[in-house]
Structures are given as structure tokens and as C-alpha cells.
């Protein structure tokens, strides 16, 4: 079991390293992500259906302990209720945010043992989702409040790049 964990850890490292070489995130540089995740990051660029572009920054401590910053941007066909219709991604009641893009909400994004906070927002006809999460238990730099602040800070950066 322990061996398997180590194999997974090295696989993740290799995967991260190969993704890092793929390019740059259009909305945030590595240094800023690194500042938010308190350490060196690797970047994984993804695309997904609906023309989604995704940047995933990971600060990997061990195979089990890592923090992640995930930025998703996608064009919207209908701007009405765009943010509201994505509230199903929230694992806590969304709270409206002022001065992030055209409109934005903040809410939790917990998955399994990963604690996460996210901002779902819109700039004109583009939706963005910024999620900051950590799997590290008792991490003082990843308290719920700090994760919220980090998600908001990065959401402002992303929205700024989208304006």
C-alpha cells in the first residue's frame, strides 16, 4: 500500500512536470499562483466541453497532501442567470460578492477530504470559476477563511484579465 502511494506520488510529479512544459495560464502566472499556494507549483492546462479552458496549479507536498488552484473560463451563450445556474457546484450557501467581474458569488467547494473555496463569476459573456483547495489537514495557511480570501484575490485577478 505504502509502495503504491509512492508510485502515485512520483506519477503525479512526472505528470505535473510534463504539464508545466505545456504552456502558460492565460489569466494568472505561476508566481502569483505560487504565492497563493505557499510554495512551488506545477501547472496543468486542460480543455473541456463547452470551450472550457482550465488551468490547474498544484503545490504537491505528498501524494496525499497538496493544495490546488483551479481556474476555469468558458464562453457563455446566455449571460442571464449564468452565475446562478452554476450554484449547484457549491457545497455551501453562495454569498454574493461585490466588485468581482460583472457579478460573482463565493461558496465552498469541498470534495472528499479536500477543503475548497471558490468564486463563480462572470465578465461580460464569459464565466469563470476559481477554486482554491487543500487536502492538508490542520494547515494554518488553508483555513476556511484564508481559502475564501485567496479565492477572492485570484478571482479578482482572473476577472481583471478577462475585462
Amino acid at each position: 500500500m505504502r509502495k503504491l502511494k509512492w508510485i502515485m506520488f512520483f506519477e503525479l510529479l512526472l505528470l505535473s512536470a510534463s504539464c508545466k512544459a505545456q504552456g502558460h495560464c492565460a489569466w494568472l502566472n505561476d508566481a502569483t499562483a505560487s504565492g497563493v499556494l505557499n510554495g512551488p507549483v506545477t501547472l496543468d492546462l486542460e480543455t473541456a466541453p463547452d470551450d472550457q479552458s482550465i488551468c490547474v496549479f498544484t503545490n504537491l507536498k505528498t501524494a496525499k497532501d497538496y493544495s490546488t488552484l483551479r481556474i476555469t473560463v468558458q464562453p457563455l451563450k446566455d449571460v442571464n442567470n449564468a452565475v446562478a445556474s452554476h450554484k449547484s457546484l457549491c457545497t455551501s450557501a453562495p454569498v454574493a460578492l461585490k466588485a468581482i467581474g460583472n457579478e460573482a458569488v463565493s461558496c465552498s467547494a469541498d470534495v472528499g477530504y479536500s477543503r475548497g473555496e471558490q468564486v463563480i463569476g462572470r465578465v461580460r459573456d464569459r464565466l469563470f470559476i476559481v477554486t482554491v483547495s487543500s487536502t492538508i489537514a490542520q494547515d494554518p495557511s488553508a483555513t476556511r477563511q484564508l481559502l475564501q480570501e485567496k479565492a477572492r484575490t485570484i478571482a479578482e485577478q482572473v476577472a481583471g484579465a478577462l475585462f
Binding site: H24, L28, N29, D30, A31, T32, S34, G35, V79, K98, A99, G101, N102, V123, R124, D125, T153, E156, Q157, A159, G160, A161, F163
Partner: protein, 734 residues
């Protein structure tokens, strides 16, 4: 333990402590320098030096001590300052300076520059909007700089680390020092943060590190509130973008310009935009319970509206509506087919009948703004005159300057905006200033001046009851098209603020004269402002008539006669101009304003020595008068006194490094003196700064497409709904 080991330990501790204190400053500086060197070396590996290896911040003007990149961590975070300066932090957080970079209104424009030309060009803008990012070397492709500073724009440490000002060129015309919040006992700056108790113990050393006497001068503001579009940015030539600083210098508040129409007390930018007020929060920078505002209240309502900074928004609106800045005067009426001007309205009787076609003359006086309305970014900020005539039931008879349902301004409104155009003759939307090649229309009210706006309306034949005429000046950030570009069409309406207004209610039939409102100008000044308005519309006969009314009411007012004379000079009636100047000088023999125009008349008459004598006296009284220095330089030049002429043009460049006459004349004078390098430099500066004679063709393309702006671009024009029958044009009008 040996018995004396305790003593040894004590001694070593004492010596180490002493060395630590003695060497603290030195090692801090050395450590910081080493860190910087290492950091800058790393940045240089991947930095885009498009504009030259030795010019990393071009197209901005900013310089930094040590001429190298600075690690962003060298700048203390504003939260560090907030510990002792809570009031400053609270105000700054809501102010434009702290939001100078992150606001969508800025990002929407600069992103276009980054995405179309490249991020390195944005150093031009960010030198003033985000200087730490520029100094850190963050404005390059794939930068390795953590951009957390973006949310703080111009932080405390930015302004309070500036060590020197460059010549007043703008675009970030300062020299940044390495941030320091303390100096040591010898006055050496200690880089970085220090413990608060050290500052509390030595507040004077803190002040010495973070305050400079020039922070209180207009030149400090001018480092950024003056901007040009240089060749490296636009691949074209130097184009002036804006210069609130020069406008201030030309205003009565600088007391550096003898030619203003009115005089006033010396007031700096800080005098209006950083007024002292009682502080609510703890701030060690407060003096006698008051603190110099770090809100920099001005015209921008959009940023506090977007961020929900209600306090800043409320104070900004109160600032704009304070009633100090503009005077709006419905100064006169004129009925169609009647020559007589009914003026000043309210002080003379007036009779109106149904079906009268009436012309209303509205004067907007920039009474107490130390710069023009609007001083900067007239392509985005919007001020305009709204003029309404209503019947007794409040129904509009005439309305100019309304907002359409989509929020856009009446295209025929009299606005204080501009229309820069590109090489396609298209309006440069989204503030893409690097594409500007010409300006098809540019309208403002310069400091201390007045503009005349004409409206024509017909009183309905079935009118019942009085008519109510209102003229107001409205202001908003931003023009609707820009707000739509930033947010898309589904954004809330942004605030429109009425800065000043005047209403008059007139009966159909006879109206006797009425008592003036408390805010009204005295009648002599109303005539004077009307005269200034006429003068700027090149209506010389009307201007002289208006100024004659001034001297009738104020025969003791020397400037009234000077105004008549300067109008006649512009009209090239030099003979009669002399009478006005002589009268002015008889009333006020030392009037620099009258002497300046006297000098122009002496030049015309060929009295060269008298001309120089007058100008020398003007320069003696106003050593920073750019006009006097320029004319005196020309006078000496014509007298073949090259050294004296050179001295005047050098002084002129000290006042305004972009003055064309100085570049031109110095290029000749230097060449004559054998100073070929300097001559070549001045010649090159003249060539890049001089007006491009080919540029107006782009404006003409725009004006052909936009007749409403074409009309506005003509000095004399009328706003009217009346359709004028052009089938039978007046003979010769073709």
C-alpha cells in the same frame, strides 16, 4: 563550567549586541542590495528589453535609484502602514490611487494594449497605475513576478519612496528610491520594514524617511498627471495626452501666469484634492486633530460605485456639487430678427410672446477649478450642458443634452469631451491611445475661462403660463459606450452628477428685472465672462462690446481695458488696442498682464527696446511665466542677442520641457554657438513634438461621417431643433 566563562559569555553577548546595533543598518542595506542584485539578475534573464538594455521601463519615464529592477517585497504592504495610519489606510483603500490598476475601467483598456501590441508597451501606463509591477520587472511575457501588488495600485510605499522628480515631463516622471520607513541616526535610509516600536521611539527619523518637501508641490502630482504618447508607444510621434499640471500652471491658482482673466490665491493640487479634515481613526500623521485627505476627491464616481465604497462615492459627489467650481449663467436672450441682446438676463426687463423664436446664451465659467473641465481622458469621461425649456406644466418645449434610453448622451449635446481619431478616421474607442493620430474635436473650459453655448427654441403658439429655462452642467464616469464595452450592455446605470445649474422662470409678456441669486456673479463679471466666451468663438466685435459693458460698470477695472485690447490684438486692430492698454496701465502701471500686451504692440510698432523692457518687467514679476519667457526669448532673438535669447528659452524649458518654440529656437541658437550636439537634440525634439500637418485629414474623415460633431467643432454654433430651410440660401452663402 569555568568560573570566568559566564563573564566571557556576557562580554561576547554585549559585544555581539553592540555589533548588531552598529552593523544593523549596514548589513540591512548590504543584504538588501545583494537581494536586489540577485533578483534583478534573474529578471534580466527573461525580460523583454524591446526599448533598449539600459531603458527597462520605457515607454514610461520612471527611473529608480540604482537603475535596476527591485524585488516587489522591498515595498512594504499597505497593511504594514495601516497599523499606525488607520485613517490614511481607510481613505486610501477607497481612493483612486489604491485602485489605479485593478479597476475594470483601467484593465479593459490596458488589456487591449497587452493583447494587441504586447505587455511591454503597458509599462507606459503602469508606470503610474502599477509602478511596483513595472519596477519588479513584471511587465514582460511570462513574468515570474507574483502580482499580488495589483490590488494596491499606488501603495503608500510607492508615493512615499519617491526621492526626486525629473523635469516635468509626466508619464511617471519621478525617481523611485528603495523603500524605507526609517533613517538611522546619520540619516541613512534603512531599507524595508522596521518594528513599530522603533518608529514610535524615533518618529522624526520615520518622517525623514517617508516625507519629502516636494510631496507638497504640484510638480509631485505632475509626475503622473501629465502624459504624452511617445514614439516608442505609438510608432508615430509625440502626442500630448493630457496635462493637468500645465493647466494648473496656467491658472490663477499657480500665480505663475500674468495673463489669467481673474486672479486668485496660490493653491496647489493638494490644496483642493488633499484638504485637511478631522480624522475619525487613529493616525499618527494627524496634526492638531486633522489629517490631509488621502481620498484625493475629484470626479471619478464610477470606481467607488463599482466597489461599493459608499463613503468615497458620497464624498466625491459632495465635492463635485460643492458649488465652488463652476458658474452657470443664462446670461442673455435674443429674439429672432431683433439685433438687441437682452442682457444681463434678470437685470434688464424682457418681454416674450407666443411663437417667438428665441436664442438663449448660456455661459459656463470655470471659476475655481485649477485645471480644465475635464482635465484628463476626455475620450472617456463625460461632462456636458443640459439645457431645458419647459412650459408651466413641466412639459419640455426644448431639451438638449438628454440621456437616451440606452444611457448614451444626446449626440448634439454641448459636451466637454474630445474625439481622438486613428488613421482610419475612426473614433479611438476604448482609450486605445496608441492608435491616436489626430483629434477631430476637443472641447473643454480652461481654468478661469468661460464658454458660451447658444440654444435656439420656439415658444409654442398656444403657450399658457410661464416658461422655465434651466441650464446645468452634468458629469459622469464614463461615456456610455465605454461602460458598455467594459461590462457589456447589462450593467447598472452609473451616477450622473449635476455640478452646477441655473434656472430662470419667465412670464409670457413682460418681465421686470429681478434680484440676483446668491450664487450669481455680479453684472460686470457676467459681461466679462460673456466677452471671454465671444473672444474664444472669434466674435471680436461682440467681445469688445461685452468688455465695454464691463468698463462701464467698473471704470476702475484695469483688466477690463486690457481685455478690450487683447481682443483687438487678436483682431489685428493694433492701433485701437493701444488705447485700451494705455488706459489699463494708467489705472495699474505695474500690471504685468497689460505690460505683456503692451510689449506685443511695441513689437508690432518696431519699438524693440520698449518691447524688451516691458517683457523684462513681466518676467521680473512672473519668473515662471512661460508666455513671457517665450516672447522675451523671441525679442532677444530678433535683436540678435543670442545669449540672452538662449537664457530665456532655457528658462522656458525649465518651466515646460515640451515647449515647441524653445526647441525650435534653441536648435538654431545652439547651432550658431557651435553646440552641434545640443542643437541636434533640440531639432529632433522639435521634429517629433511639432504638429503633423498631415494629421487633420484623419479628423476630416471623421467629421464628414459625424455632422453632429462637425457642428460642435466649429467655435460658433447653435443648438436648435428648428429646421432651417436651405432651399433659398442667402446670396453668397455658397
Amino acid at each position: 563550567m569555568r568560573p570566568d566563562s559566564g563573564r566571557w559569555i556576557l562580554a561576547v553577548t554585549v559585544v555581539a549586541g553592540f555589533l548588531c546595533i552598529w552593523g544593523g543598518t549596514t548589513s540591512g542595506v548590504l543584504g538588501q542590495e545583494a537581494d536586489r542584485k540577485q533578483y534583478a539578475g534573474k529578471v534580466r534573464e527573461t525580460y523583454n528589453f524591446r526599448f533598449g538594455k539600459d531603458q527597462p521601463f520605457i515607454p514610461g519615464t520612471m527611473q529608480v535609484e540604482g537603475d535596476d529592477f527591485v524585488q516587489p517585497g522591498a515595498f512594504p504592504d499597505p497593511s504594514y502602514c495601516a497599523h499606525c495610519h488607520q485613517e490614511a489606510y481607510h481613505q486610501w483603500r477607497q481612493a483612486l490611487h489604491s485602485n489605479a490598476f485593478r479597476t475594470p475601467f483601467y484593465r479593459a483598456s490596458v488589456n487591449i494594449l497587452i493583447n494587441t501590441k504586447g505587455i511591454e508597451f503597458a509599462r507606459h501606463c503602469d508606470s503610474c497605475h502599477n509602478p511596483i509591477a513595472v519596477l519588479a520587472g513584471g511587465l514582460t511575457e511570462n513574468s515570474k513576478v507574483d502580482r499580488k501588488m495589483d490590488q494596491n495600485g499606488l501603495s503608500c510605499a510607492t508615493c512615499h519612496s519617491i526621492q526626486k522628480l525629473q523635469s516635468i515631463k509626466g508619464n511617471g516622471g519621478f525617481v523611485m528610491g528603495i523603500p524605507s520607513v526609517m533613517v538611522d541616526e546619520k540619516g541613512n535610509r534603512i531599507p524595508g520594514e522596521v518594528p513599530y516600536d522603533e518608529i514610535i521611539k524615533h518618529p522624526e527619523r520615520h518622517s525623514q524617511a517617508v516625507m519629502q518637501s516636494f510631496y507638497r508641490t504640484p510638480e509631485f502630482c505632475g509626475a503622473c498627471h501629465k502624459a504624452n504618447l511617445p514614439n516608442p508607444l505609438n510608432d508615430y510621434k509625440f502626442i500630448r495626452a493630457f496635462t493637468a499640471y500645465d493647466e494648473w500652471q496656467s491658472s490663477k491658482f499657480s500665480r505663475r501666469n500674468p495673463l489669467t482673466f481673474y486672479s486668485g490665491d496660490f493653491t496647489t493640487c493638494q490644496g483642493c484634492h488633499m484638504k485637511r479634515a478631522p480624522n475619525d481613526l487613529l493616525d499618527y500623521g494627524a496634526k492638531n486633530g486633522t489629517f490631509a485627505s488621502h481620498r484625493w476627491l475629484a470626479g471619478n464616481t464610477a470606481v467607488p460605485f463599482y466597489y461599493g465604497f459608499d463613503e468615497q462615492l458620497e464624498k466625491t459627489i459632495a465635492f463635485l456639487k460643492s458649488g465652488n467650481f463652476l458658474n452657470v449663467d443664462i446670461v442673455a436672450l435674443k429674439k429672432a430678427n431683433e439685433e438687441k441682446l437682452i442682457a444681463p438676463l434678470g437685470s434688464v426687463p424682457v418681454s416674450l410672446e407666443p411663437n417667438n423664436l428665441v436664442e438663449a446664451l448660456v455661459v459656463v465659467q470655470n471659476k475655481n477649478i485649477g485645471h480644465s473641465l475635464i482635465p484628463e481622458v476626455r475620450d472617456l469621461y463625460e461632462a456636458w450642458v443640459e439645457f431645458t425649456v419647459q412650459d408651466g406644466a413641466g412639459k419640455d418645449i426644448y431639451h438638449s443634452g438628454f440621456l437616451k434610453p440606452d444611457g448614451s448622451l444626446d449626440p448634439r449635446a454641448h459636451s466637454f469631451t474630445n474625439r481622438p481619431v486613428n488613421t482610419e478616421g475612426q473614433f479611438v474607442d476604448n482609450h486605445k491611445v496608441w492608435t491616436i493620430h489626430s483629434v477631430a474635436y476637443d472641447n473643454s473650459v480652461q481654468a478661469g475661462r468661460s464658454v458660451l453655448v447658444r440654444y435656439q427654441f420656439r415658444i409654442p403658439a398656444d403657450i399658457k403660463g410661464p416658461i422655465k429655462i434651466t441650464a446645468r452642467v452634468n458629469y459622469r464616469h464614463f461615456r456610455q459606450s465605454y461602460s458598455d464595452n467594459v461590462f457589456g450592455p447589462d450593467h447598472p446605470a452609473y451616477p450622473v452628477v449635476e455640478i452646477a445649474s441655473r434656472t430662470r422662470i419667465l412670464n409670457i409678456g413682460n418681465n421686470d428685472s429681478v434680484k440676483p441669486d446668491p450664487g450669481d456673479n455680479p453684472d460686470w463679471m457676467r459681461w466679462n465672462n460673456l466677452g471671454i466666451g465671444y473672444l474664444d468663438q472669434l466674435q471680436y466685435a461682440d467681445a469688445i462690446q461685452a468688455f465695454n459693458e464691463v468698463v462701464k460698470l467698473r471704470p476702475d477695472y484695469a483688466d477690463g481695458y486690457t481685455n478690450i485690447a487683447l481682443t483687438e490684438i487678436q483682431w489685428e486692430k493694433y492701433g485701437s488696442a493701444r488705447a485700451g492698454i494705455e488706459k489699463a496701465l494708467a489705472l495699474s502701471p505695474n500690471s504685468a498682464r497689460a505690460l505683456y500686451y503692451a510689449a506685443l504692440l511695441e513689437r508690432r510698432a518696431g519699438h524693440s527696446d520698449a518691447e524688451v523692457a516691458d517683457l523684462v518687467e513681466v518676467v521680473r514679476q512672473y519668473p515662471d511665466s512661460r508666455d513671457a519667457r517665450r516672447e522675451l526669448g523671441i525679442s532677444y532673438y530678433q535683436q540678435h542677442k543670442d545669449d540672452e535669447a538662449m537664457q530665456q528659452f532655457n528658462e522656458l524649458q525649465r518651466i515646460d520641457p515640451d515647449d515647441l518654440a524653445a526647441h525650435y529656437n534653441l536648435s538654431i541658437l545652439y547651432r550658431r554657438a557651435g553646440m552641434h550636439d545640443k542643437a541636434a537634440e533640440q531639432q529632433a525634439l522639435f521634429v517629433t513634438k511639432k504638429f503633423d500637418p498631415g494629421a487633420p485629414t484623419y479628423s476630416l474623415d471623421f467629421l464628414r461621417e459625424h455632422p453632429e460633431i462637425s457642428t460642435e467643432s466649429v467655435p460658433w454654433h447653435m443648438h436648435t431643433d428648428e429646421v432651417h430651410d436651405m432651399k433659398d440660401p442667402i446670396a453668397g452663402a455658397q
